[in-house]
């Protein structure tokens, strides 16, 4: 009898846990993430999380501050400004596609109801090019990073504010796909993003301190010493997927765009501070 009761209790608990786990809202997810990081890094003020691992690694931070005195991403911003100002072959330019620009990074990613997909800044810039008869730019490195660097720099100080509109259920579905991606183990090494950046944030893999997910989207594109140049957020996704021996997905493909939607939502309320510099 007692055994039976125990079993019923276990079933009941299991039931509520799994039901609750599936039925969380984006805002509940964000609060849970915030709670975990605040607890894990209790001395770190919220606004510091935009600095990634340097918010929690005093030694790495010293090097980084020295690097930021002569920002390695500056030439890319300058080139991006030239791109922004230079008309396409048809006489139009980025300015015509983005009349509010160039400080537009804070509007991305967002749900594009017409196209039924998550719209990111690099994708929007390329759609502008194609609408004007220009070739789209490659998504991971090269001149895309210049124009994104320029818009990011102009957008500094804007606040992350990803909205999941409730007039289109596909938007929430995209968010949930991104969340699923984040928690799914992949590759021969069997890691999810969560394994490193949530469960083990602050711990060291070799000498690398694992940054919190919170703040990971605020500073793109980023100059990485390892790359020797500036790269996009999706290039970084590619790298993290390859490291765990998973086949990376297409930059700006659906999986990575949905992931960006989820990831950026987690950073709602944090200031944009791109471009960034990392080792």
């Amino acid at each position: 009898m007692k055994k039976l009761l125990n079993r019923v209790a276990v079933l009941a608990i299991a039931g509520t846990v799994s039901m609750g786990a599936q039925a969380t809202t984006p805002e509940e997810d964000r609060n849970a993430f915030n709670k975990l990081y605040k607890w894990r890094f209790s001395g770190v003020p919220m606004e510091e999380f935009v600095n990634g691992a340097y918010a929690i690694d005093p030694i790495g931070r010293e090097n980084w501050e020295a690097i930021e005195e002569f920002p390695p991403y500056e030439p890319f911003i300058d080139e991006g400004e030239v791109m922004w100002e230079t008309p396409f072959a048809n006489g139009k330019g980025y300015k015509d596609c983005f009349p509010d620009g160039p400080a537009i990074a804070g509007n991305y990613p967002h749900w594009d109801k017409e196209q039924g997909m998550v719209m990111t800044l690099p994708l929007a810039l390329n759609q502008c090019r194609e609408a004007n008869g220009e070739k789209p730019l490659k998504y991971k490195k090269g001149s895309i990073t210049n124009i994104v660097a320029y818009t990011a720099f102009q957008s500094r100080g804007q606040v992350t504010n990803v909205v999941i509109p409730d007039d289109d259920p596909r938007a929430l579905a995209a968010y949930e796909n991104g969340r699923k991606f984040y928690f799914t183990r992949r590759g021969q090494l069997n890691f999810s993003c969560s394994t490193c950046h949530l469960q083990n944030t602050g711990m060291k893999v070799r000498t690398e301190i694992l940054s919190p997910t919170l703040g990971q989207t605020t500073h793109w594109p980023t100059y990485r010493s390892k790359w020797g140049t500036v790269g996009t957020l999706h290039r970084r996704f590619t790298g993290c997927n390859k490291n765990i021996r998973a086949k990376p997905f297409k930059a700006q493909g659906e999986q990575y765009r949905n992931l960006e939607y989820f990831l950026t939502y987690m950073s709602n309320g944090l200031e944009l501070n791109g471009p960034g510099a990392r080792k």
């Binding site: 021969q188 090494l189 069997n190 890691f191 394994t195 490193c196 469960q199 083990n200 711990m203 060291k204 893999v205 070799r206 000498t207 690398e208």
Partner: protein, 123 residues
């Protein structure tokens, strides 16, 4: 759980037996120490075990700290097969484990696993 352990040990036993039949064994002691040395090379190699990425191992450079230091292994794992099972698939004991399932996902071959376990057991 105990059944799968049993299976593992039976399997490992069979492997050892086979190895014993096929490999010429010069002298038991020499063979033992070279197996340990090979196991150490597997543990430290970045391409193979890369255990240092997450564990402190005495004498290993730049250890990470995702997992606990690998010390006093014999005391903590009197049963060598349990140690092997932990490395073969840590998610069996802990579904949320952040350790690589070296055997299950064939990061290491069964022969490499055997050598590795001999080395880890000396720590």
């Amino acid at each position: 759980m105990s059944i799968s352990n049993l299976k593992l040990s039976v399997m490992a036993g069979a492997v050892t037996l086979l190895a014993g039949q096929i490999l010429p064994l010069p002298s038991l002691a020499a063979e033992g120490s070279s197996v340990v040395a090979e196991g150490k090379a597997i543990a430290l190699s970045r391409k193979k075990g890369n255990c240092l990425a997450c564990h402190l191992i005495e004498g290993g450079e730049f250890p990470g700290n995702l997992g606990p230091p690998l010390i006093a292994m014999k005391a903590r794992y009197p049963d060598k097969q349990k140690l092997r099972a932990q490395i073969w698939d840590p998610t069996a004991a802990n579904p949320e484990s952040a350790m690589v399932p070296f055997g299950r996902n064939k990061v290491l071959t069964e022969a490499e696993m055997d050598k590795l376990v001999e080395y880890i057991w000396t720590l």
